[in-house]
């Protein structure tokens, strides 16, 4: 038995990785490569939230050729397609197997607390002592449901996208979808197609075409370096981390799913949900403003793609107009919806998620409960985060974003372990190369 395995039996490891999603597994692969003894604790099964907290029709927003993990790529026959939910689960499952990740499934972390030279991770089965903790529990643990939801009439069922599975599970009658990010537009679309009238409350949003000048938008974003953009290259990282996910769907038809497509299908677009009061939802009068802003930002992005094309040997005739229609907004957008009179029985809150750190008993959360970190390096020594929105670069929350983040944070972690070992045992320890 190796010393590391013996240590693991005693409940002591160098690193505890919390979460066996794609990020936690990518970190596990890195740690194994560097001979660091560690465990990956997973409350359910590998890729758990994909199995239990996503709707049936979900597909990735990135094409298959881009959906990769360190040393693990899509090898099917549809590189431009988008993985379905079962395919994502199989892809992550395969990865866990290939890297032989030391995953302990069915283990729920109850708390992480400070301990001499490291941390104690208490779970519902046993406790672990470790020097480093990797928070790979995902950015989507808790749904951001606004307080005004409490004022909904009792006849209305309130649902987060993590609870929603398929339109047929909803009651007959109208559905109010709140939020027009990728999730909101996708759910509005499939629920409207099921014959239920959807009203979509639209606040700030990011509009993107699926294809532009014959190529997938994610391909353009990668060419432009947008996905690799780092936090030190943007002027306000707090703001960009709050930007909602773009209105995209990964469908076999490669269709664009913007507000115009939804309006055409019969979805009614209204302003941001401002409040629920006296059995009515009240919508902001800012719909036109938000749509104009999204149109402008889209135009700006498409213009920068055109400039990129001019500078590169890419065969596209820029004289061919690639017109994008402005977002159609009703002359008098509706400002209120009466749940009873209009028989709206369901509200779906596509209002975003935040990570759940309720078990993280370390002084690393700010007054708003947000993790304090610099590019994933948490303010407690030896604690690292993964997979958060724009954590180190724009792609940090995407599957293919794990590669760079894990490598950089992995070396940070090795340097931290190395420093601890040197303190304990100066003569023998050999430095492990740290790079950043």
């Amino acid at each position: 038995m190796t010393p590391a395995r013996r240590a693991a039996r005693n409940g002591a490891v160098d690193v505890v990785v919390i979460g066996a999603g794609h990020s936690g597994l990518a970190m596990s692969a890195f740690l194994s490569q560097h001979g660091v003894d560690h465990v990956v604790l997973e409350r359910g099964q590998v890729a758990n939230s994909w199995r239990r907290e996503r709707w049936d029709s979900l597909r990735l927003l990135t094409p298959n050729w881009l959906s990769r993990l360190p040393g693990h790529r899509y090898d099917g026959d549809d590189p431009h397609g988008f993985m379905s939910l079962p395919e994502v689960i199989a892809f992550i499952d395969d990865y866990a197997r290939v890297i032989a990740a030391p995953v302990h499934t069915g283990v729920t972390v109850l708390s992480v607390t400070d301990e001499k030279d490291g941390y104690r991770v208490c779970t519902d089965s046993r406790d672990w002592r470790c020097r480093c903790v990797v928070l790979a529990n995902g950015a989507f643990g808790l749904a951001n449901i606004p307080g005004t939801a409490a004022a909904l009439p009792s006849s209305v069922r309130s649902l987060s996208p993590a609870e929603y599975r398929r339109p047929q599970d909803l009651e007959e009658g109208g559905v109010l979808v709140v939020g027009a990010s990728a999730t909101g537009v996708q759910l509005a679309d499939e629920i409207q197609r099921s014959g239920r009238q959807v009203t979509l409350a639209v606040g700030e949003h990011i509009r993107l075409p699926r294809n532009y000048r014959g190529r997938d938008i994610q391909g353009w974003l990668e060419s432009l370096g947008v996905l690799d953009q780092r936090i030190d290259e943007v002027d306000d990282v707090v703001r960009v981390r709050r930007v909602p996910s773009p209105q995209l769907v990964g469908s076999p038809e490669h269709a664009t799913l913007d507000l115009n497509a939804l309006t055409e299908r019969g979805v009614e677009i209204v302003g941001r949900l401002a409040a629920v009061r006296d059995g009515r939802a009240l919508f902001s009068g800012s719909l036109r403003s938000h749509c104009a802003m999204a149109d402008l930002k889209q135009q700006r992005l498409l213009a920068s793609i055109d400039r990129w094309i001019e500078d590169h040997p890419y065969r596209v005739d820029l004289r061919d107009a690639a017109t994008v229609m402005p977002t159609w907004v009703p002359d008098q957008p509706r400002l209120a919806l009466d749940f009873g009179r209009e028989r709206v029985r369901t509200v779906l809150w596509a209002t975003g998620f935040r990570p759940d750190y309720s078990w993280l008993h370390l002084p690393v959360l700010d007054a708003k409960g947000q993790l304090q970190h610099e590019g994933g390096i948490v303010s407690a020594p030896g604690v690292y985060a993964l997979g958060l929105n724009f954590m180190r670069r724009r792609k940090s929350s995407f599957m293919h974003g794990a590669e760079d983040d894990v490598r950089e944070l992995g070396y940070e972690l090795l340097a931290h372990l190395d420093a601890l070992h040197q303190c304990e045992d100066p003569p023998q320890t050999q430095a492990v190369g740290a790079a950043m």
């Binding site: 009061r277 009068g285 800012s286 403003s289 104009a292 700006r300």
Partner: protein, 189 residues
């Protein structure tokens, strides 16, 4: 913020962006100081005529005073059988919205290094007075819509000007007040 030496150009819209950015930083660190209270006092004079005074306010953790007191007469036009001593209250709302957006355009332009030469905004709001006259209970008292039209001359492309106007809405207090519900408590002392 870095500024490329080759593109230094003198832009002056009369907005001290440096001070605003400093304030943003200071108020991030001291959230209590960011809590302001704005006030107006109104004296009824006669009929629909009233005079409002605006002077002190609370902010940065303390009472703030101004060198001057601003006075505003409000009334109704003669076709409402009033004496027209001032703008109607609803017109004050339009003044608030347009001046807030215009100030925002100037601040954003300064930040984006865009020289403004002319900014004018005309605001029009529709209202069915059957609401306030109690003729039709289904007609609301307030506006049924507001339209703001900007006319801007600046050293910028059409798209950049559109982006200025969009950003000014995003950061406008009055735009938010007008487009979203606000809880109002009215009491009698």
């Amino acid at each position: 913020m870095l500024q490329n030496a080759t593109q230094v150009k003198q832009v002056n819209n009369g907005v001290n962006v440096g001070a605003l950015l400093d304030a943003r930083q200071a108020l991030t660190a001291a959230p209590e100081a960011a809590r302001f209270k704005w006030r107006a006092t109104t004296q009824w004079i006669n009929g629909t005529h009233s005079r409002s005074t605006v002077s002190g306010f609370y902010g940065l953790g303390t009472e703030q005073s101004r060198k001057v007191e601003f006075k505003f007469d409000a009334d109704h036009p003669e076709i409402f059988a009033s004496e027209d001593h001032g703008a109607t209250p609803v017109e004050f709302v339009l003044v608030g919205l347009a001046s807030c957006l215009a100030a925002g355009v100037a601040a954003v332009a300064q930040h984006r290094k865009i020289q403004l030469r002319k900014v004018s905004a005309t605001v029009e709001a529709g209202m069915n007075v059957q609401g306030i006259l109690g003729i039709d209970a289904d007609v609301r008292n307030g506006f049924d819509g507001i339209k703001v039209i900007f006319d801007i001359d600046a050293d910028a492309t059409k798209e950049e000007i559109a982006a200025l106007v969009a950003q000014s809405q995003k950061r406008s207090a009055v735009f938010d007040i007008v487009t979203n519900p606000t809880d109002v408590a009215v009491e009698v002392r």
